[in-house]
Point group: C2
Chain length 320, copies 2
Amino acid sequence: MPVSTPFPAKPRIAILGAGALGCYYGVRLAKSGENVHFLARSGRAAIMARGIRVKTPTERISLRKVQVYGSSAEIGPCDLVIVALKATANDQLAKLLPPLLHENTVVLTLQNGLGVEEPVAEVAGPERVAGAICFIGCTRTAPGVVECVFPGLVMIGKFGKSAGERTHAIAALFSKAGVKCQAHDNLEEMRWKKLVWNAPFNGLAIAAGCITTDVILADEGLKILARRLMEEVVEAAGKFGHVIPRSFIDLQFERTAKMGAYRPSSLEDFEEGRGIELEEIWGEPVRRAKSVGVPVPRLEMLYWLIKRKLAARKTVKKRH
Amino acid sequence: MPVSTPFPAKPRIAILGAGALGCYYGVRLAKSGENVHFLARSGRAAIMARGIRVKTPTERISLRKVQVYGSSAEIGPCDLVIVALKATANDQLAKLLPPLLHENTVVLTLQNGLGVEEPVAEVAGPERVAGAICFIGCTRTAPGVVECVFPGLVMIGKFGKSAGERTHAIAALFSKAGVKCQAHDNLEEMRWKKLVWNAPFNGLAIAAGCITTDVILADEGLKILARRLMEEVVEAAGKFGHVIPRSFIDLQFERTAKMGAYRPSSLEDFEEGRGIELEEIWGEPVRRAKSVGVPVPRLEMLYWLIKRKLAARKTVKKRH
């Protein structure tokens, strides 16, 4: 269902958050000539002084003069707002988003998991919300400094609808900026498909004692468990009309075997003491599955175990 | 089905293993006038020099002159052999048991979990095997030194049959020695009932990050999970004809709430680097449940997670 309002040829773009993803995509867009404004709540002085520097396996990209701000009001209304905050910061959207919106602003969230468009839609209205699934491996090593080991690709879709003219226009912006990007007609299905990998591997990496993906694959029990978790996700997705074939599960294992001692992002976040997408990757899928009568005992157990680990981390932090 | 051979009035007793349980029950029996022989594979010199000392909440029991040996052959045939080794040492039964057996020897295993009578039966024959479930809280603090915080009770049953004359005779021996003891007609049912508590609480204490039982009860998710795990055990037990009422589950929570910051024995063993009854408390119940078509997804997941934690501990040990 294409939206009638055409997307401007030279959009004004705001990037909410100057973490790894915000910096990486923002710099790419700025270097390709787009008008990009960063909202950085921390590390702003460093970015103003030294710009943003991105290292990929093949390139070094540097943006010297960055339009970086400390508040949304300083940026003002934009045509495209890219939400590159962690989902754990979504309680701030009600404050951060409104100054960036005009009547036709599209808000694209890059967050992981299920239920990430809803908090945006609550503030901005559902009809202007889009979501992106980013297959990327990158880390912010210092303010404005990003190391990207796997540039991957981005899949963009519209919230609750098939891709429209504006979705395609945004995908074209990314492509022009050197980011492999596709517009998809079923955002929710893409999200469930990504969960097929994320739920078991990000989850077991934390819950089974801070281990890398190769350790999961080498452990007979955990490998079967990863498959059972995937089957639960696939069954739940199916109840929502997203038919994911069994071969997709096999494919996940084949791909993971090639990744070696990979540290899922949630494990990195957990070990670094940062927030993780507990509700988006585990809590919300469990609730949705149960709401349509699909039992997901292992996924729920994983959710509870990770939740407990996070609670224990907080207790330790408080003690010190 | 009572066995025809009467149990001797003054039985010759061997205790296999001089850990917490072996010392505690052995000393009790010896002090009540029984003829008790200990097999101690380590700490024998200390026991010969200083005897065995047991501290309970109300008593200090000391056995100065202990009949302690380094091999079964030195002890020779007995009327009652009490297996007080950890299940993790059961591969040694084939060597340790035969010299202790005569035609009518009864072998009583004190081990925890499911499938602990079978290894004894394999060596000694099933008809002479009995099992005891020990509700006790005690720790060996040094060779021959045992601290017992909760003397509890012992339930004795015959392997695969209802309690016979000899089962009752052994229960009477324990009672006379000051150990609260009952003979039961259904050993397997008692074992499943004990698992209703052991599987979730011993398991989650380890798998959820080395926590005490009060932490499990205070965590909303883990508390529900403990109940779901109990339900899986109860359902599996039911398929084997052991009907455990729902009220039994509620009772476990009531009792556990009164225990405060309790450290289940498996957690203690895990943290001290000792072996734990992985197969007896989790592996075997999972296999038995699945063999009769009862799905136990959470119990199986718990089994795999604990197994992984044990494997990780071994890796760390090897590295150092």
